[in-house]
């Protein structure tokens, strides 16, 4: 057979073979994408950032390997405190490996915790700029984590991390509306618990956030009661105290001291728990009925007025103004 004829037959067969598989491949690609087995296409921006060689490697089916290398690079940037490089590197890493929880959590941790804390102590900047830089990095860490959740909506750990960030006393002053951030934290914990895979602290953490949302006390009380009834492991001092103050909010005539003794076993233990809660101003937990309960218990325990917890100065609530004075 002549070469040209052979080549023509081969070309036609190649096209026919291609046409026969086209629909199958398109369907298979859709199936694999639906099963989460094929990652979205690499963005042009990401290809530029990782460079020609890494881009080729990533396109060759080794995206997670490139992500691993970049993670090492990010660690070097962390040890040298190059925060902007860390942010950029983690943006690239999560484009390459969008379903790896570790990268989302580590990126967010670097931004919201490490970079933000760095600016609290950065003596080279004036207080106002340090404050703004601190706030900016906390917000960036939050945004990064929220992007991770959009990519992995069923990942309980990312949701729980968001809840932790939004309800952290060292971080929530960065958010303008604390009521909204506590509500968002409670919602994140609720979603984490709804995945069915979350550890049991998540349910309690949801209550700790929800109880701090003004106007949602009734809902918080219902949650506190259901957690209290669900397991003895939930009978943590914070949960018992929140149950007490939320009951006091619902029923202002409640005998707080008596109820506290019921919950904490003895008047002394009840007094210690109420005293501790009274002084936890940093967390901004509700304190409905706590002073009345303390007053009554001090009488029961014959504590002199000069030793009263109520006469001691309360620690000031956290505010960036204090941190950036130095």
């Amino acid at each position: 057979m002549k070469l040209w004829l052979k080549s023509a037959i081969l070309a036609v067969t190649l096209l026919a073979f291609g046409a026969a598989r086209l629909a199958y491949e398109a369907t298979l690609t859709r199936d694999l994408q639906a099963a989460g087995l094929v990652a979205p296409r690499l963005q042009i921006g990401t290809r530029d950032k990782i460079g020609q060689t890494s881009s080729t490697v990533a396109l060759g089916g080794l995206r997670t390997l490139v992500a691993t290398f970049l993670n090492l690079r990010a660690y070097t940037a962390f040890s040298e405190q190059r925060w902007e490089d860390i942010a950029e590197t983690f943006n690239t890493i999560v484009d390459l490996a969008p379903h790896t929880r570790y990268y989302w959590e580590t990126g967010s941790w670097h931004l919201a915790y490490n970079a933000a804390s760095y600016y609290i102590n950065d003596a080279s900047l004036p207080p106002l700029r340090r404050r703004e830089a601190w706030r900016l990095y906390v917000l960036r860490g939050r945004a990064f984590l929220e992007r991770g959740i959009r990519n992995n909506p069923n990942d309980w750990s990312l949701l729980a991390n968001l809840g932790t960030l939004l309800s952290d006393p060292n971080k929530f002053p960065a958010f303008r509306d604390n009521n909204a951030s506590f509500a968002a934290a409670a919602e994140a914990y609720r979603q984490a618990a709804a995945t069915g895979k979350a550890l049991d602290y998540v349910g309690r953490a949801r209550l700790y956030s929800l109880a701090r949302v003004a106007g949602r006390e009734r809902e918080s009380l219902a949650l506190a009661r259901s957690l209290f009834d669900a397991s003895r492991r939930n009978h943590t001092p914070t949960l018992l105290m929140l149950l007490l103050v939320l009951e006091a909010h619902e029923n202002p005539a409640l005998d707080v001291a008596r109820r506290a003794v019921e919950l904490f076993d003895t008047p002394q233990k009840a007094y210690d728990a109420l005293s501790s809660h009274w002084q936890r101003t940093r967390e901004r937990f509700p304190v409905f009925g706590v002073s009345a309960g303390l007053d009554a218990l001090e009488k029961t325990l014959s504590i002199p007025k000069e030793n009263s917890i109520l006469s001691r100065a309360l620690p000031p609530p956290p505010t960036p103004d204090d941190w950036f004075h130095k």
Partner: protein, 308 residues
């Protein structure tokens, strides 16, 4: 080259293919290709040391190092298998011509298809053995490391007062990142991709004049094949963005001619802890066999009456 007297397949197509395959395998093994397995062993062990500081509770302990072992190992497997399948196949025909072995074989009543199929199977056997060794090594390293991570997590979790249920849940999450069926399926996907590349390199080598040409063209097709899905999407959704007719036909040509290697990038998802359903593996195997068979038959079509 002769078939052992006790071989029941003596004189059959299968018998001839088997003999040529084992000969090709021996020929490649003598080129000391297995030395790279030592490099792989070093990589698999070295990936254990990228355990970066943790920022969280027990649930994050060791999360990174397990990913690291898998991504280094599967990455190395992909690279080695693709390079091996292309270069080994590209070498075979020119070497047989150079050694004059080809004339001896073709002078005997050996159908050319048997010769090509035997050579290809020899390369695939080499790739399979190499991948099997790497897989065993990766699984052993991962198994040991997973056990260490679980031990560390449990110690931390118990210290923090986690319940038995919570510890069991942590254990299940960590085991999903350890050696499992999905990981073995991913290794098989790596083998499928290498098989396609070997059969494609065989096709190119039937009309190519040099090993270098076959190698370069094969690698180019390998990388361009990762854009095939983009071209196909562009073609299937043509007309939505006002693109030209030329672009439309170019996209169609790329989609029809080149293999879609993106399909085999499932290994990334497996490294990230995703399950790999058997049905998906079966579908992927089907397309892999389809490609390999077509390229082998096309090679035979070209090679059938080639003059030497």
């Amino acid at each position: 080259m002769s078939i052992a007297p006790h071989t029941p397949l003596k004189g059959s197509h299968a018998g001839r293919i088997f003999v040529i395959a084992t000969h090709a395998f021996t020929q490649l093994a003598r080129m000391k290709v297995f030395y790279f397995l030592a490099i792989f062993a070093v990589l698999a062990i070295a990936s254990n040391f990228f355990d970066l500081p943790q920022h969280e509770g027990p649930e994050s302990v060791g999360a990174n190092v397990l990913h690291s072992i898998k991504s280094w190992s599967l990455g190395a497997m992909t690279l080695f298998s693709v390079v091996l399948s292309i270069v080994a196949t590209a070498l075979l025909l020119p070497k047989d011509v150079e050694d004059r072995t080809l004339y001896t074989i073709l002078a005997k009543p050996v159908p050319r298809f048997d010769y090509l199929a035997g050579k290809l199977l020899g390369v695939l056997l080499l790739v399979f053995v190499s991948l099997a060794f790497m897989d065993v090594l990766m699984t052993v390293v991962l198994q040991i490391r997973t056990a260490m991570v679980i031990h560390e997590q449990e110690a931390m979790a118990l210290g923090m007062g986690y319940t038995a249920d919570a510890v069991a849940s942590l254990r299940a999450e960590t085991l999903a990142n350890g050696p499992n069926a999905a990981l073995q399926s991913a290794v098989f996907a790596v083998f499928l991709r290498a098989s396609i590349m070997a059969s494609l390199a065989l096709l190119i080598s039937t009309f190519s004049t040099s090993t270098l040409f076959t190698t370069i063209v094969s690698f180019l097709i390998y990388f361009i094949g990762h854009f095939q899905a983009d071209a196909r999407d562009f073609y299937l959704h043509a007309g939505q963005a006002g693109e030209t007719g030329l672009a439309h036909w170019a996209a169609l040509s790329v989609s029809l001619v080149l293999p879609d290697f993106q399909l085999f990038n499932v290994i990334d998802a497996v490294i990230e802890g995703q399950a790999f359903p058997l049905l998906m593996l079966a579908k992927l195997t089907l397309i892999g066999i389809y490609y390999a068979l077509f390229f082998t038959l096309a090679s035979w079509f070209i090679f059938a009456d080639k003059e030497f």
